[in-house]
Assembly symmetry: C2
Homo-oligomer: 221 residues x 2
């Protein structure tokens, strides 16, 4: 920004969001994301990430939330800017896309969709079975998945995919689903119980198994 | 990008770069960055980050390199996209800034400046003694510094600030300057010698002290 009247008018600015949640499939929980079928050219009929144009009067985070709500009726539990994609040839006319990635607690997905009336042209896809997407959206989705899998290892990011209280088994299953690999239950339990991030509650999950204590994350600093 | 003709025309796109290098000051090396004095309104006469408008025909990385070269004559040793800043009120008219952060080997700074003829209106500032900057550039510079200090801890990022071969003492001093704190020499040496990232060369640095072996990073995978 070294000039008050420079170029830039020919460049359009979009905002897109890759939002992940855990959805129950036949073989257990799967890490999935919603895609929107395009109703306009270019790429008419192809699947694309939820998004839209940035409004000149709104901040970037607000634009991500708005365009996500307009296209999918979803409100993220966690939202963070990922990267801005702007290769010259990524669209027929010059358009950059400021991309966010987001998490949604699995217990909220159906309620949000029902409250809004299930939006049209939206379907959830397994991250390991994505269709060919419009524009450079496959590359964008892959990058968001890489960031999620990196970040889950050193932060409480899994909290964005779970209700406020959960058992250690439920937490381990979130890690396993996100990372796509099994974790040793005793090692996981030892690691988490030694952390000062998790606090035990006085509640227990009951059911077919023996009661399991519920935990929650300590409040953020 | 859900529409081929949407809004966006009223939004201008800038690219800015926060580039760090080590510069020798009276009390030793300091982590510094170059700023450019503005010759136009708004913020006429204030210091700002190097940058300029995105050209519709160029990729984002190319725009960062070009605008950095045009304003400071510098060519980074390392360049990575940082974040896109786009608050509605960050400039008098709506402008988003795609910000890069970069590193420049200290042994190259003077040569690059001399080759281009020292550019006007550019001065280097200690990261701990920054003047008030135009727009939201103080916030941007602080964020880039935070990212650098985080990243230096778990990566070979210090290589972007050093010549290809260096002594372990020189490497430790880079870490100390970037982090702004002293590190225990024996611990540092033990940690680095145990890493498979560094390889010893057959060369030694000689001078007033006893000869010190030169190391280099292994080639990237």
């Amino acid at each position: 920004m070294t000039d008050a009247t420079g170029a830039g008018d020919a460049i359009r600015v979009a905002v897109s969001t890759v939002i992940f949640s855990l959805r129950t499939a036949e073989d257990g929980d799967r890490l999935m994301l919603p895609l929107v079928r395009r109703t306009r050219t270019p790429h008419l009929g192809q699947w694309a990430l939820p998004g839209g144009w940035l409004d000149p009067a709104e901040d970037l985070d607000a634009a991500a939330s708005r365009t996500l709500a307009e296209t999918t009726a979803l409100k993220p539990s966690y939202l963070e800017q990922l990267y801005t994609f702007g290769d010259v040839d990524r669209a027929p006319t010059r358009a950059i896309s400021i991309v966010y990635w987001a998490l949604l607690r699995s217990d909220l997905v159906d309620a949000q969709r029902a409250a809004a009336g299930a939006p049209e042209n939206v379907e959830w896809f397994d991250v390991d079975a994505m269709p060919p997407l419009a524009f450079d959206h496959n590359r964008i989705a892959d990058y968001a998945l890489w960031r999620l899998r990196n970040k889950v290892g050193y932060s409480r990011i899994a909290a964005g995919l779970l209700p406020d209280e959960f058992t250690l088994t439920e937490l381990r299953e979130v890690y396993e689903t996100v990372l796509g690999q099994r974790l040793d239950p005793s090692n996981f339990r030892r690691l988490l119980e030694g952390s000062d991030e998790l606090v035990p509650t006085e509640s227990f999950r009951t059911g077919n198994h023996r009661p399991a204590r519920l935990f929650r994350y300590v409040a953020s600093a």
